[in-house]
């Protein structure tokens, strides 16, 4: 076994988040590369949630795929969602007490989902009883079922440590960890390391968890051996960071010089602001970062712009509904040439949509949001490393060109935890662009330059800003000639950005130099596409993946050159939306019509196995325009 995919499922509120963090830390401590995606409902307690994790000894395995080798369930419901996700010869762990559960007794499953599951189970097995499902898995897939009495296990805590019986259930999530630890042969000190990190300083909790996990692990090993043990890790990192997308963006922003972040809570963006707040003190003389919870997103962006005018690097973080409310002020920033970064985590739309699920359906919106025309940057990131780098670059672009920068990410990235290299900060520079420090004859909007030097409110010069068209001083004007000049000055920044920005921040190409087909994508589809291309190569399809990072301004010439390597019919956009928005943006700027695509908009990520199939399908059926993916619970 080269890599391992596993899953832990249970109700929201049962500690899955913590489980994911501990396990990832433990595995990272041993030296494995890990990605861990978390799927959950917009609900605080009770609905089904799960962690889908991929572990590799050789790389950071971003390309989540199905089937999984191991499924551990905290509750009975889990198996109903995932019995189809298991690999042959796989393993499941569940509570032996729940075996006579039937589907109709699970109240927390939505009726539609229940109907589908019921139909499928009845067709396949003729029963919805858990016991029968287990039997089926054992028979048909040679799955090994590990049945444990969860209550008895938790009672050990009561017996050994005197934990109150009512509180013992808080340790439920240690049971799957124990099973995983056993089957994978994770050493006890690695588990302890992971637990200790998570519950830093809370010794009792650490003790209980470690005890439980490690004893279960031993028992599992003695009974089942260590069939899921991976080869020794071979990644060349002595040190890794275990971070979610939210975390790493926050870190990038801190390094990039963020000193004022305003926000209004929203999934999946808010965790970034909480992270910054938790780390807002930079150490005595460096001061600290203001993290400001506003009354709404209209205020969040307005406050960020206001703060920026004083010369502070400012940002706000939000998601679709919040950004929709920021649109008017975005135009103000564009008009007044204000550097401000909007970190935008896409989730499933439209409206409230699927608030805790992913999507990539806001690209065209960000490219054209707000009435009127003004320059902006739309920058997107495909993985944690890119996200870190882009978070710094975003500020540089914002200040150098005095434009709002929208850093567009998605929930998949935001909520997945990865083990990545600790970045080397020496490669970064803070580029603040042109700054005017004196007083004298200064005018803020000097039309002799495309980017005129910026002075800060509170420094020596007196400055005016306005949302109206303005004179060089910043006073309202309606003079047609001046209007034309000022308008063009602003818009010409787009050309400048395109000329001056290194290409790697605009797009990246992976794969064959002479491809027969090209996948085109952006954001979190990146590694899944790269892996699909690689894997298809082995089957004789020579292809490439074009990863677009900057959509405004759009690197049209380079992209066109790359895409012209293949017939337009051999370009396949891969996106978490229905319109193929990156494809549309590409057509818009290159004139190359992108007709074909792999689309997924269920809120779940695109998995490698389904992408591979879809690409093969499209490459083998010329007439087919789209494949719509729906895998994942």
């Amino acid at each position: 076994m080269e890599e391992l995919e596993l899953m832990i499922g249970g109700p929201q509120g049962s500690g899955l988040d913590t489980t994911g963090q501990i396990l990832t830390s433990s595995l990272a401590y041993i030296g494995y590369g890990v990605i861990s995606d978390r799927e959950y409902y917009s609900n605080i307690t009770g609905k089904h949630s799960y962690i889908h994790m991929k572990v590799s000894p050789t790389r950071v395995p971003y390309d989540l795929s199905y089937p999984v080798k191991l499924l551990t369930a905290i509750d009975a419901e889990t198996l109903y969602h995932h019995y189809n996700d298991l690999d042959e010869n796989g393993y499941i762990a569940l509570d032996s007490r729940g075996l006579n559960t039937t589907l109709d007794r699970i109240v927390t499953i939505e009726s539609y989902t229940k109907k589908l599951i019921g139909e499928d189970l009845n067709n396949r097995i003729g029963s919805t009883k858990l016991e029968d499902i287990v039997q089926y898995l054992e028979d048909d897939l040679s799955v090994t079922a590990i049945l444990l009495d969860y209550k008895l296990i938790l009672d050990r805590l009561v017996d050994k440590f005197g934990v109150a019986a009512s509180l013992a259930s808080r340790y439920l999530s240690s049971i799957p960890m124990g099973v995983i630890s056993g089957l994978m042969d994770i050493p006890p000190e690695a588990i302890e390391y992971g637990v200790r990190r998570r519950f830093y300083g809370r010794e009792k909790i650490i003790e209980h968890n470690v005890y439980l996990i490690n004893t279960i692990s031993e028992e599992i090993k003695s009974q089942y051996g260590t069939p899921l043990k991976l080869p020794e890790p071979k990644l060349d990192m002595d040190e890794v960071m275990v971070v979610s997308g939210n975390d790493i963006v926050a870190m990038g922003k801190v390094v990039g010089g963020l000193r004022f972040q305003s926000y209004y809570p929203i999934t999946p963006a808010a965790d970034e602001s909480f992270f910054i707040e938790a780390n807002q003190n930079l150490g005595g003389d460096k001061g600290g970062i203001v993290v400001f919870q506003t009354e709404d997103e209209l205020a969040a962006i307005a406050a960020a712009i206001g703060a920026s005018l004083t010369g502070v690097r400012t940002a706000t973080a939000t998601s679709g509904p919040g950004f929709s409310l920021m649109v008017e002020a975005l135009g103000w920033a564009g008009n007044s040439e204000v550097p401000v970064v909007i970190t935008y985590y896409q989730r499933g739309g439209p409206a409230t949509g699927l608030p805790t699920r992913g999507g990539q359906s806001d690209l065209l919106f960000t490219m054209f949001a707000s009435h009127g025309e003004f320059p902006r940057v739309v920058l997107t990131s495909g993985d944690h490393e890119e996200a870190f780098e882009d978070s710094i670059i975003a500020f540089n672009l914002a200040e150098k060109y005095q434009v709002p920068v929208i850093h567009l990410l998605d929930k998949y990235l935001a909520n997945s935890i990865a083990t990545i290299k600790v970045p080397d900060l020496d490669v970064y520079r803070i580029d603040r662009g042109l700054i005017h420090r004196g007083d004298g004859d200064y005018v803020r909007f000097d039309t002799t330059k495309i980017v005129s030097p910026r002075a800060f409110l509170g420094d020596k010069a007196i400055i005016w800003y306005t949302g109206n068209e303005h004179t060089e001083e910043g006073h309202n004007t309606e003079d047609p000639i001046l209007r034309e000049k000022m308008y063009r000055k602003r818009m010409e920044k787009l050309k400048l950005i395109l000329e001056e920005t290194p290409k790697k921040y605009m797009y990246r190409y992976y794969g064959a130099e002479d491809p027969e087909y090209i996948l085109l994508g952006w954001g979190f589809v990146k590694h899944t596409c790269i892996s699909a291309v690689k894997s298809l190569e082995r089957e004789g399809y020579r292809g490439g993946y074009l990863h677009i990072k900057m959509f405004t301004p759009y690197p049209e010439k380079d992209v066109a050159n790359i895409l012209r390597k293949v017939d337009p019919n051999k370009i396949i956009a891969v996106e978490n939306n229905i319109m193929l928005q990156a494809g549309m943006a590409t057509t818009l700027y290159t004139g190359i019509k992108i007709r074909r695509g792999v689309k997924k908009y269920t809120g779940r990520p695109i998995y490698l196995h389904e992408l591979r199939e879809a690409v093969i399908d499209l490459l083998s059926n010329e007439g087919k325009e789209e494949v719509i993916l729906t895998y994942g619970s």
Binding site: Y29, E239, V254, L282, F292, G306, G467
Partner: protein, 316 residues
């Protein structure tokens, strides 16, 4: 720098209608700045959209003419990022209490040291005279096709309910009173609100100069004590708030101007931030370096490892 009235004027033609109450506000604001002796580069006037919103262009201090209803959050960002600045918001009654009412309430909850000057003319001036939130129900000003069917909001009561610690009313044509009120508001450490009665000669034919001339009287001349000093017992504070609200309902033959309420005992927002952020008061965001001489981030590799040690794992 010597700041005098003349140096506080700009070259921009003041395009308000002849006789507009805004002229009084403009002059008196300039006068207050002169009298306080604040340097123009350390003041920022932040405005919304409307006739009132044009104010900053006519005063030779920093000016930020924002969006309709959003002056307060823009101002909030400015003040928090650089608390050394004196930040004054000029907004219309529509701007602050209609489209901006949510921000108006939120500012009260923070007691951030900003002064909000509301040009209260009972109409949406710049869009040609629709009813503003301060026009009473049943009133029909010049441009209205029919009498107003929405009730007026009481700005003073709303400010008090929202938590403003300085709440006053003045009259745009009583320059002296305006100047004194604004000066006190600026000097007050906390969120200050001034309701300025401002005749709109073009669209408001009810609340005219003549109307106000007969009715306005000064609260202070009336043995009125609105001030809460630190240490005042809760009941006294509640009583003063109540008195202020009761006073604010007075709108008829007599209309009071003056300070309705002033509470010196509530911690200002910057002080609150200072409890969370090391040295916020000393080195607020606008004073923090973010890069080293060579352009590298001020956060070094070592700083990074310290700050985020919880997220870094050294392989066993």
């Amino acid at each position: 720098m010597v700041v005098d009235l003349k140096s506080l004027r700009t070259d921009v033609w003041v395009d308000w209608c002849p006789g507009c109450g805004n002229f009084g506000i403009l002059n008196a604001t300039q006068r207050a700045i002169v009298e306080l002796g604040i340097e123009p580069n350390k003041i920022v006037i932040v405005s919304g959209i409307g006739c009132s919103g044009k104010t900053p262009h006519f005063i030779n201090v920093n000016g930020v003419h924002t969006l309709h209803g959003r002056a307060i959050p823009f101002a909030t960002g400015i003040k928090i990022a650089n608390p050394e600045l004196t930040v004054i918001v000029h907004g219309g009654d529509g701007d602050l209490l209609g489209i901006g009412a949510g921000h108006f309430v939120a500012l009260g909850r923070r007691n951030l040291d900003i002064t909000v000057v509301m040009h209260n003319n009972g109409v949406y001036g710049l869009t040609k005279g629709q009813a503003s939130p301060t026009l009473f129900r049943g009133e029909q000003t010049k441009a209205l096709p029919k009498p107003n069917i929405q009730d007026a909001v009481n700005p003073i009561a709303l400010a008090l309910a929202s938590g403003y610690t300085f709440v006053a009313r003045t009259y745009s044509l009583n320059i002296k009173h305006y100047v004194e009120t604004l000066k006190m508001a600026i000097q007050h450490k906390g969120s200050a609100f001034i309701d300025v009665l401002q005749p709109c000669v073009v669209y408001n034919d009810i609340y005219t100069k003549d109307f106000f001339k007969e009715r306005i009287y000064v609260l202070e001349e009336d043995g009125w004590d609105p001030v809460v000093e630190p240490g005042t017992p809760m009941e006294t504070i509640e009583e003063k708030i109540n008195n202020a609200i009761q006073k604010s309902l007075e709108w008829g033959d007599k209309i009071p101007i003056g300070i309705f309420y002033m509470n010196k005992a509530v911690p200002e927002f910057g002080e609150r931030l200072n409890t969370l952020i090391d040295n916020y008061t000393l080195i607020p965001p606008a004073k923090q370096p973010i890069a080293r001489e060579d352009g590298k981030p001020i956060i070094t590799n070592q700083d990074f490892r310290e700050l985020f040690s919880r997220y870094i794992i050294r392989r066993r």
